[in-house]
Protein backbone atom coordinates (compact mmCIF):
# COMPACT_ATOMS: atom_id res chain seq x y z
CA UNK A 1 0.00 0.00 0.00
CA UNK A 2 1.73 3.19 -1.24
CA UNK A 3 0.62 6.21 0.76
CA UNK A 4 0.96 9.90 0.15
CA UNK A 5 1.39 12.60 2.73
CA UNK A 6 -1.30 15.25 2.49
CA UNK A 7 -1.64 18.58 4.22
CA UNK A 8 -4.14 21.32 4.88
CA UNK A 9 -3.49 24.90 5.92
CA UNK A 10 -5.85 26.83 8.19
CA UNK A 11 -5.79 30.63 8.56
CA UNK A 12 -4.89 30.45 12.26
CA UNK A 13 -5.09 28.60 15.55
CA UNK A 14 -5.44 30.20 18.95
CA UNK A 15 -3.21 28.48 21.50
CA UNK A 16 -3.71 27.79 25.20
CA UNK A 17 -0.99 30.39 25.88
CA UNK A 18 -3.20 33.06 24.30
CA UNK A 19 -0.91 33.45 21.31
CA UNK A 20 -2.17 32.93 17.79
CA UNK A 21 -0.28 31.03 15.15
CA UNK A 22 -1.19 31.97 11.60
CA UNK A 23 -1.28 30.32 9.27
CA UNK A 24 -1.03 26.76 10.53
CA UNK A 25 -0.46 23.69 8.40
CA UNK A 26 -1.10 20.09 9.43
CA UNK A 27 0.42 17.13 7.58
CA UNK A 28 -1.53 13.88 7.62
CA UNK A 29 -2.05 10.52 5.98
CA UNK A 30 -5.25 8.50 5.66
CA UNK A 31 -5.83 4.79 5.15
CA UNK A 32 -9.10 3.08 4.26
CA UNK A 33 -12.40 4.76 3.38
CA UNK A 34 -14.77 6.86 5.44
CA UNK A 35 -18.17 5.12 5.40
CA UNK A 36 -21.50 6.73 4.44
CA UNK A 37 -22.48 7.29 8.07
CA UNK A 38 -19.04 8.77 8.79
CA UNK A 39 -18.89 6.54 11.83
CA UNK A 40 -15.75 4.49 11.17
CA UNK A 41 -12.98 7.08 11.61
CA UNK A 42 -10.05 6.34 13.88
CA UNK A 43 -7.40 8.90 14.77
CA UNK A 44 -3.94 7.49 15.45
CA UNK A 45 -1.70 9.66 17.61
CA UNK A 46 2.05 9.43 17.18
CA UNK A 47 4.64 9.39 19.96
CA UNK A 48 7.28 12.05 20.62
CA UNK A 49 9.49 11.53 17.57
CA UNK A 50 6.88 10.01 15.26
CA UNK A 51 5.16 11.58 12.28
CA UNK A 52 2.06 11.27 10.11
CA UNK A 53 3.44 8.23 8.30
CA UNK A 54 1.89 5.55 10.50
CA UNK A 55 1.14 2.86 7.92
CA UNK A 56 1.77 1.69 4.38
CA UNK A 57 4.78 2.51 2.24
CA UNK A 58 5.66 6.17 1.85
CA UNK A 59 5.79 7.44 -1.70
CA UNK A 60 8.60 9.77 -0.59
CA UNK A 61 11.19 7.31 0.70
CA UNK A 62 9.68 3.85 0.32
CA UNK A 63 9.72 3.26 4.07
CA UNK A 64 6.94 1.56 6.04
CA UNK A 65 4.97 3.56 8.62
CA UNK A 66 5.92 3.50 12.31
CA UNK A 67 2.87 1.39 13.23
CA UNK A 68 2.55 -0.55 9.97
CA UNK A 69 2.38 -3.80 11.97
CA UNK A 70 -0.83 -2.54 13.61
CA UNK A 71 -2.56 -0.55 10.84
CA UNK A 72 -3.66 -2.06 7.52
CA UNK A 73 -6.14 -4.49 5.96
CA UNK A 74 -6.85 -7.27 8.46
CA UNK A 75 -4.57 -5.75 11.11
CA UNK A 76 -5.52 -4.45 14.58
CA UNK A 77 -6.68 -1.15 13.10
CA UNK A 78 -8.31 -2.82 10.12
CA UNK A 79 -8.29 -0.39 7.19
CA UNK A 80 -10.71 -2.58 5.25
CA UNK A 81 -13.30 -1.65 7.91
CA UNK A 82 -12.12 1.65 9.33
CA UNK A 83 -10.97 5.02 8.03
CA UNK A 84 -7.67 5.68 9.80
CA UNK A 85 -6.03 9.10 10.03
CA UNK A 86 -2.66 10.06 11.47
CA UNK A 87 -1.28 13.61 11.56
CA UNK A 88 2.03 15.15 12.55
CA UNK A 89 1.74 17.10 15.83
CA UNK A 90 1.79 20.87 16.15
CA UNK A 91 5.36 21.93 16.91
CA UNK A 92 6.71 18.95 14.98
CA UNK A 93 9.05 18.93 12.01
CA UNK A 94 7.47 16.51 9.53
CA UNK A 95 5.11 18.74 7.59
CA UNK A 96 3.08 20.34 10.36
CA UNK A 97 3.87 23.89 11.47
CA UNK A 98 6.73 23.92 13.97
CA UNK A 99 9.78 25.93 15.00
CA UNK A 100 11.55 25.18 11.71
CA UNK A 101 8.61 26.58 9.68
CA UNK A 102 8.87 30.00 8.14
CA UNK A 103 7.39 32.79 10.25
CA UNK A 104 5.49 34.95 7.72
CA UNK A 105 6.25 38.01 9.87
CA UNK A 106 10.02 37.69 9.33
CA UNK A 107 10.39 35.37 6.35
CA UNK A 108 12.73 33.26 8.49
CA UNK A 109 12.19 30.12 10.58
CA UNK A 110 10.43 30.75 13.92
CA UNK A 111 13.25 29.08 15.83
CA UNK A 112 13.14 29.98 19.54
CA UNK A 113 10.30 32.47 18.89
CA UNK A 114 7.91 29.63 18.11
CA UNK A 115 5.04 29.93 20.59
CA UNK A 116 4.71 27.60 23.56
CA UNK A 117 2.42 24.74 22.57
CA UNK A 118 0.61 22.21 24.77
CA UNK A 119 -0.86 18.77 24.17
CA UNK A 120 -4.27 20.49 24.20
CA UNK A 121 -3.10 22.68 21.29
CA UNK A 122 -1.93 19.61 19.35
CA UNK A 123 -5.35 18.03 19.85
CA UNK A 124 -7.15 21.25 18.88
CA UNK A 125 -5.35 21.24 15.53
CA UNK A 126 -6.35 17.59 15.06
CA UNK A 127 -9.98 18.52 15.75
CA UNK A 128 -9.70 21.18 13.03
CA UNK A 129 -8.36 18.48 10.72
CA UNK A 130 -11.31 16.22 11.59
CA UNK A 131 -13.70 19.07 10.72
CA UNK A 132 -11.88 19.46 7.40
CA UNK A 133 -12.22 15.70 6.71
CA UNK A 134 -15.92 15.77 7.62
CA UNK A 135 -15.54 13.60 10.71
CA UNK A 136 -17.76 14.81 13.54
CA UNK A 137 -17.30 11.84 15.85
CA UNK A 138 -14.35 9.47 16.01
CA UNK A 139 -14.86 5.77 16.56
CA UNK A 140 -11.57 5.80 18.43
CA UNK A 141 -8.53 7.88 19.31
CA UNK A 142 -5.51 5.70 19.95
CA UNK A 143 -1.80 6.03 20.53
CA UNK A 144 1.21 5.01 22.58
CA UNK A 145 3.37 7.12 24.87
CA UNK A 146 2.82 10.80 23.94
CA UNK A 147 0.20 9.45 21.53
CA UNK A 148 -1.71 8.11 24.54
CA UNK A 149 -1.43 11.50 26.22
CA UNK A 150 -3.04 13.11 23.18
CA UNK A 151 -5.75 10.44 23.16
CA UNK A 152 -6.55 11.24 26.82
CA UNK A 153 -6.57 14.95 25.99
CA UNK A 154 -9.19 14.21 23.32
CA UNK A 155 -11.39 12.63 26.00
CA UNK A 156 -11.07 15.81 28.05
CA UNK A 157 -11.18 18.48 25.31
CA UNK A 158 -13.77 16.84 23.04
CA UNK A 159 -15.60 14.25 25.19
CA UNK A 160 -18.57 14.14 22.80
CA UNK A 161 -16.39 13.60 19.74
CA UNK A 162 -14.82 10.22 20.62
CA UNK A 163 -16.63 6.93 21.16
CA UNK A 164 -13.51 5.28 22.49
CA UNK A 165 -10.01 6.11 23.68
CA UNK A 166 -6.98 3.80 23.64
CA UNK A 167 -4.00 5.09 25.66
CA UNK A 168 -1.09 2.63 25.42
CA UNK A 169 2.04 2.75 27.62
CA UNK A 170 1.04 6.26 28.59
CA UNK A 171 0.25 8.60 31.46
CA UNK A 172 -1.96 11.52 32.40
CA UNK A 173 1.11 13.38 33.65
CA UNK A 174 4.86 12.94 33.58
CA UNK A 175 6.68 11.80 36.69
CA UNK A 176 9.84 13.51 37.94
CA UNK A 177 11.84 10.75 36.27
CA UNK A 178 10.23 11.34 32.88
CA UNK A 179 10.76 15.10 33.15
CA UNK A 180 14.37 14.45 34.20
CA UNK A 181 15.19 12.42 31.10
CA UNK A 182 13.58 15.06 28.87
CA UNK A 183 15.60 17.75 30.61
CA UNK A 184 18.86 15.85 30.02
CA UNK A 185 17.95 15.75 26.32
CA UNK A 186 17.16 19.46 26.22
CA UNK A 187 20.35 20.38 28.06
CA UNK A 188 22.44 18.28 25.68
CA UNK A 189 21.00 20.33 22.81
CA UNK A 190 21.35 23.70 24.52
CA UNK A 191 24.94 22.91 25.56
CA UNK A 192 25.98 22.34 21.94
CA UNK A 193 27.76 25.54 20.79
CA UNK A 194 26.09 25.20 17.41
CA UNK A 195 22.67 25.61 19.05
CA UNK A 196 23.15 29.40 18.94
CA UNK A 197 20.20 30.08 21.24
CA UNK A 198 17.96 28.23 18.79
CA UNK A 199 18.85 30.45 15.82
CA UNK A 200 20.88 27.80 14.05
CA UNK A 201 19.03 27.42 10.76
CA UNK A 202 21.74 29.13 8.73
CA UNK A 203 24.54 27.21 10.44
CA UNK A 204 25.36 23.54 10.99
CA UNK A 205 22.86 23.19 13.88
CA UNK A 206 23.33 21.36 17.20
CA UNK A 207 23.87 17.94 15.63
CA UNK A 208 26.03 16.57 18.46
CA UNK A 209 23.69 17.75 21.20
CA UNK A 210 20.62 16.43 19.40
CA UNK A 211 22.35 13.07 18.83
CA UNK A 212 23.21 12.76 22.53
CA UNK A 213 19.62 13.65 23.44
CA UNK A 214 18.42 10.86 21.18
CA UNK A 215 20.92 8.40 22.65
CA UNK A 216 19.53 9.03 26.13
CA UNK A 217 16.04 8.62 24.72
CA UNK A 218 16.84 5.26 23.17
CA UNK A 219 18.20 3.95 26.46
CA UNK A 220 14.92 4.83 28.17
CA UNK A 221 12.89 3.13 25.43
CA UNK A 222 14.65 -0.22 25.95
CA UNK A 223 14.97 -2.46 28.99
CA UNK A 224 17.88 -4.09 30.75
CA UNK A 225 16.73 -7.43 29.31
CA UNK A 226 16.28 -6.19 25.76
CA UNK A 227 19.68 -4.47 25.77
CA UNK A 228 21.39 -7.55 27.16
CA UNK A 229 19.76 -9.65 24.49
CA UNK A 230 20.38 -7.22 21.65
CA UNK A 231 23.95 -6.15 22.50
CA UNK A 232 25.32 -7.96 25.54
CA UNK A 233 28.98 -7.01 25.84
CA UNK A 234 29.69 -7.75 22.20
CA UNK A 235 32.10 -5.46 20.38
CA UNK A 236 32.58 -4.55 16.76
CA UNK A 237 34.92 -2.48 14.61
CA UNK A 238 33.34 0.88 13.87
CA UNK A 239 34.16 4.05 12.01
CA UNK A 240 34.70 6.85 14.51
CA UNK A 241 35.87 10.45 14.02
CA UNK A 242 39.34 9.32 15.16
CA UNK A 243 39.54 6.43 12.71
CA UNK A 244 38.48 2.82 13.03
CA UNK A 245 38.21 1.47 16.56
CA UNK A 246 36.51 -1.25 18.52
CA UNK A 247 33.27 -0.21 20.21
CA UNK A 248 30.73 -2.05 22.28
CA UNK A 249 27.79 -2.84 20.04
CA UNK A 250 25.55 -0.78 22.27
CA UNK A 251 27.82 2.24 21.78
CA UNK A 252 27.85 1.76 18.05
CA UNK A 253 24.06 1.35 17.98
CA UNK A 254 23.40 4.48 20.00
CA UNK A 255 25.79 6.53 17.87
CA UNK A 256 24.10 5.25 14.73
CA UNK A 257 20.60 6.01 16.00
CA UNK A 258 21.70 9.41 17.30
CA UNK A 259 23.19 10.34 13.94
CA UNK A 260 20.19 9.07 12.04
CA UNK A 261 17.85 11.12 14.22
CA UNK A 262 19.73 14.36 13.48
CA UNK A 263 18.99 13.98 9.79
CA UNK A 264 15.23 13.88 10.34
CA UNK A 265 14.49 15.88 13.48
CA UNK A 266 14.70 19.53 14.42
CA UNK A 267 16.32 20.46 17.76
CA UNK A 268 13.81 23.24 18.46
CA UNK A 269 10.98 20.76 17.85
CA UNK A 270 12.69 18.46 20.36
CA UNK A 271 12.56 21.20 22.97
CA UNK A 272 9.04 22.36 22.06
CA UNK A 273 7.47 18.90 22.14
CA UNK A 274 9.26 17.56 25.23
CA UNK A 275 8.18 20.72 27.09
CA UNK A 276 4.58 20.14 26.00
CA UNK A 277 4.81 16.57 27.35
CA UNK A 278 6.32 17.68 30.66
CA UNK A 279 3.71 20.34 31.43
CA UNK A 280 0.84 18.05 30.38
CA UNK A 281 -1.13 17.29 33.57
CA UNK A 282 -4.79 16.38 33.24
CA UNK A 283 -5.21 16.11 37.01
CA UNK A 284 -3.53 19.40 37.87
CA UNK A 285 -5.55 21.42 35.37
CA UNK A 286 -8.87 19.99 36.46
CA UNK A 287 -8.60 19.29 40.19
CA UNK A 288 -8.29 15.56 39.65
CA UNK A 289 -8.15 13.16 36.77
CA UNK A 290 -11.65 11.97 37.64
CA UNK A 291 -12.93 15.57 37.41
CA UNK A 292 -11.12 16.01 34.09
CA UNK A 293 -13.04 13.05 32.68
CA UNK A 294 -16.38 14.21 34.08
CA UNK A 295 -18.09 14.71 30.73
CA UNK A 296 -16.52 11.75 29.03
CA UNK A 297 -18.79 8.93 27.91
CA UNK A 298 -16.20 7.09 25.83
CA UNK A 299 -15.12 3.50 26.36
CA UNK A 300 -11.46 3.13 27.31
CA UNK A 301 -8.85 0.49 26.65
CA UNK A 302 -5.57 1.03 28.49
CA UNK A 303 -2.54 -1.16 27.88
CA UNK A 304 0.87 -1.24 29.54
CA UNK A 305 3.91 -3.49 29.35
CA UNK A 306 5.71 -5.34 32.11
CA UNK A 307 9.24 -4.15 31.26
CA UNK A 308 8.33 -0.52 30.46
CA UNK A 309 10.15 1.48 33.13
CA UNK A 310 9.77 4.84 31.35
CA UNK A 311 5.94 4.74 31.40
CA UNK A 312 5.45 2.10 34.10
CA UNK A 313 2.19 0.22 34.53
CA UNK A 314 1.27 2.17 37.66
CA UNK A 315 0.71 5.21 35.44
CA UNK A 316 -1.79 3.35 33.28
CA UNK A 317 -3.40 1.98 36.44
CA UNK A 318 -3.86 5.53 37.76
CA UNK A 319 -5.84 6.36 34.64
CA UNK A 320 -7.88 3.18 34.99
CA UNK A 321 -8.65 3.86 38.66
CA UNK A 322 -9.82 7.40 37.94
CA UNK A 323 -12.11 6.07 35.21
CA UNK A 324 -13.49 3.42 37.54
CA UNK A 325 -14.19 6.12 40.10
CA UNK A 326 -16.35 7.80 37.46
CA UNK A 327 -17.93 4.44 36.69
CA UNK A 328 -16.64 4.69 33.11
CA UNK A 329 -16.34 1.69 30.83
CA UNK A 330 -12.64 0.85 31.06
CA UNK A 331 -10.65 -2.22 30.11
CA UNK A 332 -7.03 -2.71 31.08
CA UNK A 333 -4.28 -5.28 30.93
CA UNK A 334 -0.54 -5.27 31.53
CA UNK A 335 1.00 -7.21 28.65
CA UNK A 336 4.15 -9.29 29.06
CA UNK A 337 7.14 -7.99 27.09
CA UNK A 338 10.89 -7.62 27.42
CA UNK A 339 11.08 -4.68 25.02
CA UNK A 340 10.60 -1.89 27.55
CA UNK A 341 8.76 1.22 26.37
CA UNK A 342 9.39 0.25 22.73
CA UNK A 343 7.02 -2.69 23.28
CA UNK A 344 4.00 -0.70 22.07
CA UNK A 345 5.71 -0.38 18.67
CA UNK A 346 7.05 -3.94 18.54
CA UNK A 347 4.52 -6.22 20.25
CA UNK A 348 1.88 -6.20 17.51
CA UNK A 349 0.97 -9.82 18.18
CA UNK A 350 0.13 -9.14 21.81
CA UNK A 351 -1.95 -6.06 21.02
CA UNK A 352 -3.74 -7.06 17.83
CA UNK A 353 -6.52 -9.34 19.13
CA UNK A 354 -7.21 -7.03 22.05
CA UNK A 355 -7.44 -3.85 19.99
CA UNK A 356 -9.47 -5.60 17.28
CA UNK A 357 -11.94 -6.99 19.82
CA UNK A 358 -12.26 -3.62 21.52
CA UNK A 359 -12.83 -1.66 18.28
CA UNK A 360 -15.28 -4.27 17.02
CA UNK A 361 -17.35 -4.07 20.23
CA UNK A 362 -17.25 -0.26 20.15
CA UNK A 363 -18.37 -0.17 16.51
CA UNK A 364 -21.22 -2.60 17.21
CA UNK A 365 -22.47 -0.50 20.12
CA UNK A 366 -22.61 2.79 18.19
Amino acid sequence: MIVQRQSVTFPSIELVSGETLSPVTVAYETYGELNQARSNAILIEHAFSGDAHAAGISDLDGKPGWWDNMIGPGKAFDTSRYFVVCSNVLGGCSGTTGPASIDPATGKPYGPRFPFVTVADMVKLQAMLMDHLGVEKLLSVAGGSMGGMQALQWAVSYPERCASVVPIASTHRHSAQQIAFNEVGRQAIVADPDFQGGNYYEGPGPARGLAVARMVGHITYMSDDSMREKFGRRRRLSETPSGESELFEVESYLRYRGGQFVSRFDANSYITITKAMDVFDLAGENGSLADALLRCKARFLALSFTSDWLYPSYQSEEIVRALRGRNCDVAYVELPSNYGHDAFLIEAGEQTDIVRGFLDATFRRL
Binding site: V320, N327, D329, A331, Y332, V333, P336, E350, G357, A361
Partner: protein, 213 residues
Protein backbone atom coordinates in the same frame (compact mmCIF):
# COMPACT_ATOMS: atom_id res chain seq x y z
CA UNK B 1 -34.62 -20.55 50.13
CA UNK B 2 -35.47 -22.95 47.36
CA UNK B 3 -37.27 -25.82 48.95
CA UNK B 4 -37.88 -28.50 46.39
CA UNK B 5 -35.36 -30.49 44.43
CA UNK B 6 -35.88 -29.71 40.79
CA UNK B 7 -33.95 -30.14 37.57
CA UNK B 8 -32.36 -26.98 36.29
CA UNK B 9 -34.85 -25.07 34.15
CA UNK B 10 -34.53 -25.30 30.40
CA UNK B 11 -32.25 -22.58 29.04
CA UNK B 12 -33.86 -19.54 27.45
CA UNK B 13 -31.80 -20.06 24.32
CA UNK B 14 -29.95 -23.12 23.10
CA UNK B 15 -26.70 -21.17 23.46
CA UNK B 16 -27.17 -20.90 27.21
CA UNK B 17 -26.56 -24.51 28.13
CA UNK B 18 -23.30 -24.44 26.26
CA UNK B 19 -22.00 -21.28 27.81
CA UNK B 20 -23.44 -21.94 31.22
CA UNK B 21 -22.00 -25.39 31.57
CA UNK B 22 -21.07 -24.50 35.10
CA UNK B 23 -24.04 -25.18 37.37
CA UNK B 24 -23.67 -21.96 39.31
CA UNK B 25 -23.75 -19.92 36.09
CA UNK B 26 -27.18 -21.33 35.31
CA UNK B 27 -28.50 -20.08 38.63
CA UNK B 28 -26.82 -16.70 38.16
CA UNK B 29 -28.31 -16.46 34.68
CA UNK B 30 -31.74 -16.90 36.24
CA UNK B 31 -31.23 -14.41 39.02
CA UNK B 32 -29.90 -11.48 37.00
CA UNK B 33 -32.66 -9.29 35.56
CA UNK B 34 -32.46 -8.11 31.97
CA UNK B 35 -30.76 -4.80 31.30
CA UNK B 36 -28.84 -4.78 34.58
CA UNK B 37 -25.43 -3.34 35.25
CA UNK B 38 -23.24 -6.21 36.38
CA UNK B 39 -19.72 -6.50 37.76
CA UNK B 40 -18.22 -10.01 37.57
CA UNK B 41 -15.34 -10.51 39.99
CA UNK B 42 -12.87 -13.17 38.96
CA UNK B 43 -14.54 -13.24 35.54
CA UNK B 44 -11.96 -15.52 33.90
CA UNK B 45 -12.26 -15.35 30.12
CA UNK B 46 -15.60 -13.60 30.39
CA UNK B 47 -18.00 -16.43 29.43
CA UNK B 48 -20.67 -15.33 31.89
CA UNK B 49 -20.26 -11.65 30.98
CA UNK B 50 -20.58 -12.39 27.26
CA UNK B 51 -23.74 -14.37 27.93
CA UNK B 52 -25.24 -11.69 30.15
CA UNK B 53 -24.55 -9.06 27.48
CA UNK B 54 -25.94 -11.10 24.61
CA UNK B 55 -28.88 -12.83 26.23
CA UNK B 56 -29.86 -10.45 29.01
CA UNK B 57 -28.88 -7.16 27.45
CA UNK B 58 -26.74 -6.42 30.50
CA UNK B 59 -23.93 -3.93 30.75
CA UNK B 60 -21.18 -6.16 32.10
CA UNK B 61 -17.77 -5.34 33.50
CA UNK B 62 -15.22 -7.79 34.82
CA UNK B 63 -12.15 -8.07 37.01
CA UNK B 64 -9.62 -10.84 36.56
CA UNK B 65 -6.13 -11.25 37.96
CA UNK B 66 -4.70 -13.51 35.26
CA UNK B 67 -3.32 -11.43 32.38
CA UNK B 68 -3.70 -14.39 30.06
CA UNK B 69 -7.43 -14.70 30.77
CA UNK B 70 -7.91 -10.93 30.56
CA UNK B 71 -6.37 -10.98 27.08
CA UNK B 72 -8.82 -13.62 25.90
CA UNK B 73 -11.73 -11.66 27.36
CA UNK B 74 -10.55 -8.40 25.81
CA UNK B 75 -10.25 -10.05 22.41
CA UNK B 76 -13.98 -10.85 22.81
CA UNK B 77 -14.58 -7.12 23.16
CA UNK B 78 -15.53 -7.33 26.84
CA UNK B 79 -14.75 -4.61 29.37
CA UNK B 80 -12.37 -6.31 31.70
CA UNK B 81 -9.49 -5.02 33.70
CA UNK B 82 -6.63 -6.90 35.19
CA UNK B 83 -6.74 -6.47 38.93
CA UNK B 84 -6.94 -7.95 42.37
CA UNK B 85 -10.43 -8.43 43.85
CA UNK B 86 -9.07 -7.82 47.34
CA UNK B 87 -8.16 -4.26 46.36
CA UNK B 88 -9.90 -3.58 43.09
CA UNK B 89 -13.34 -2.43 44.27
CA UNK B 90 -12.25 0.58 46.32
CA UNK B 91 -12.35 2.98 43.36
CA UNK B 92 -15.97 2.35 42.42
CA UNK B 93 -18.62 4.73 43.67
CA UNK B 94 -21.40 3.37 45.93
CA UNK B 95 -24.21 1.57 44.13
CA UNK B 96 -22.41 1.55 40.77
CA UNK B 97 -23.89 -1.83 39.81
CA UNK B 98 -27.18 -3.70 40.11
CA UNK B 99 -25.34 -6.94 40.79
CA UNK B 100 -21.79 -7.76 41.82
CA UNK B 101 -21.02 -11.41 41.15
CA UNK B 102 -18.36 -13.50 42.86
CA UNK B 103 -18.46 -17.02 41.53
CA UNK B 104 -16.26 -19.72 43.05
CA UNK B 105 -13.66 -17.16 44.11
CA UNK B 106 -14.63 -16.11 47.67
CA UNK B 107 -12.48 -18.87 49.14
CA UNK B 108 -9.48 -17.60 47.15
CA UNK B 109 -9.58 -14.01 48.39
CA UNK B 110 -7.33 -12.87 51.21
CA UNK B 111 -10.05 -10.91 52.99
CA UNK B 112 -13.40 -12.51 52.14
CA UNK B 113 -15.35 -10.48 54.71
CA UNK B 114 -14.06 -7.17 53.35
CA UNK B 115 -14.66 -8.31 49.77
CA UNK B 116 -18.25 -9.20 50.65
CA UNK B 117 -18.85 -5.83 52.29
CA UNK B 118 -17.31 -4.01 49.32
CA UNK B 119 -19.51 -5.99 46.93
CA UNK B 120 -22.57 -4.77 48.80
CA UNK B 121 -21.27 -1.20 48.76
CA UNK B 122 -20.66 -0.97 45.00
CA UNK B 123 -23.60 -3.23 44.11
CA UNK B 124 -27.25 -3.04 45.14
CA UNK B 125 -27.15 -6.82 45.33
CA UNK B 126 -24.39 -9.40 45.52
CA UNK B 127 -24.39 -12.89 44.08
CA UNK B 128 -21.92 -15.21 45.77
CA UNK B 129 -21.27 -18.80 44.73
CA UNK B 130 -18.74 -20.96 46.54
CA UNK B 131 -17.76 -24.61 46.89
CA UNK B 132 -19.03 -26.21 50.08
CA UNK B 133 -16.07 -27.39 52.13
CA UNK B 134 -18.49 -29.15 54.48
CA UNK B 135 -19.65 -31.59 51.81
CA UNK B 136 -19.86 -35.15 53.19
CA UNK B 137 -17.08 -36.37 50.91
CA UNK B 138 -14.66 -33.79 52.33
CA UNK B 139 -15.71 -34.66 55.88
CA UNK B 140 -15.36 -38.37 55.20
CA UNK B 141 -12.02 -37.92 53.45
CA UNK B 142 -10.63 -36.01 56.45
CA UNK B 143 -12.04 -38.48 58.97
CA UNK B 144 -10.90 -41.56 57.08
CA UNK B 145 -7.42 -40.48 56.02
CA UNK B 146 -6.57 -37.76 58.51
CA UNK B 147 -5.34 -35.68 55.57
CA UNK B 148 -6.55 -32.44 54.01
CA UNK B 149 -9.55 -33.44 51.88
CA UNK B 150 -9.18 -34.01 48.17
CA UNK B 151 -12.42 -34.47 46.27
CA UNK B 152 -13.79 -33.94 42.79
CA UNK B 153 -14.51 -30.32 43.65
CA UNK B 154 -11.37 -29.83 45.76
CA UNK B 155 -8.68 -31.62 43.77
CA UNK B 156 -5.69 -29.70 45.12
CA UNK B 157 -2.87 -30.57 47.48
CA UNK B 158 -2.78 -28.50 50.67
CA UNK B 159 0.39 -26.73 49.49
CA UNK B 160 -0.79 -25.68 46.05
CA UNK B 161 -4.47 -24.99 46.54
CA UNK B 162 -5.76 -21.56 45.55
CA UNK B 163 -8.42 -22.05 48.23
CA UNK B 164 -7.09 -20.24 51.27
CA UNK B 165 -10.34 -19.91 53.24
CA UNK B 166 -12.27 -23.09 53.86
CA UNK B 167 -15.92 -22.11 54.15
CA UNK B 168 -19.02 -24.19 54.77
CA UNK B 169 -22.67 -23.27 54.37
CA UNK B 170 -23.30 -22.62 58.10
CA UNK B 171 -20.00 -20.68 58.32
CA UNK B 172 -21.08 -18.40 55.50
CA UNK B 173 -24.58 -17.85 56.86
CA UNK B 174 -23.16 -16.99 60.26
CA UNK B 175 -21.02 -14.26 58.70
CA UNK B 176 -24.07 -12.89 56.90
CA UNK B 177 -25.99 -12.73 60.20
CA UNK B 178 -23.13 -10.96 61.96
CA UNK B 179 -22.84 -8.38 59.22
CA UNK B 180 -26.58 -7.85 58.89
CA UNK B 181 -26.65 -9.06 55.30
CA UNK B 182 -29.99 -10.36 54.11
CA UNK B 183 -30.34 -13.54 52.06
CA UNK B 184 -32.88 -12.85 49.31
CA UNK B 185 -32.51 -16.26 47.74
CA UNK B 186 -30.21 -19.24 48.14
CA UNK B 187 -29.60 -22.26 45.93
CA UNK B 188 -27.81 -25.46 46.85
CA UNK B 189 -26.40 -27.56 44.06
CA UNK B 190 -25.35 -31.14 43.75
CA UNK B 191 -23.97 -31.51 40.26
CA UNK B 192 -26.58 -30.01 37.95
CA UNK B 193 -29.44 -30.58 40.42
CA UNK B 194 -30.78 -28.29 43.07
CA UNK B 195 -31.22 -29.88 46.46
CA UNK B 196 -32.84 -28.88 49.72
CA UNK B 197 -32.17 -31.88 51.97
CA UNK B 198 -29.27 -31.18 54.37
CA UNK B 199 -27.44 -28.92 51.94
CA UNK B 200 -24.54 -28.42 54.31
CA UNK B 201 -23.80 -32.12 53.93
CA UNK B 202 -24.89 -32.82 50.36
CA UNK B 203 -24.39 -29.62 48.32
CA UNK B 204 -21.19 -29.32 46.26
CA UNK B 205 -21.74 -25.63 46.03
CA UNK B 206 -24.06 -22.85 47.12
CA UNK B 207 -25.29 -19.70 45.38
CA UNK B 208 -26.63 -16.75 47.38
CA UNK B 209 -28.41 -13.60 46.30
CA UNK B 210 -27.66 -11.03 48.99
CA UNK B 211 -28.53 -7.47 49.87
CA UNK B 212 -27.97 -5.07 52.71
CA UNK B 213 -30.80 -4.66 55.14
Amino acid sequence: MSTTAEPVTAPERPFVAEVLAREDYQVIGEIVESGSRVLDLGCGEGELMAWLEQSKDCEARGVEISAKKVRVALARGLSIYQGDIDRGLADYPDGAFDYVILSQTLQETHHPREVLLEMLRVGRRAIVAFPNFGHWSARWSLLRTGRAPKTRHLPFEWYNTPNIHFVTIPDFEELLRKEGIRIERSYFLRGPRRISLRPSLFADSAVYLLRRD
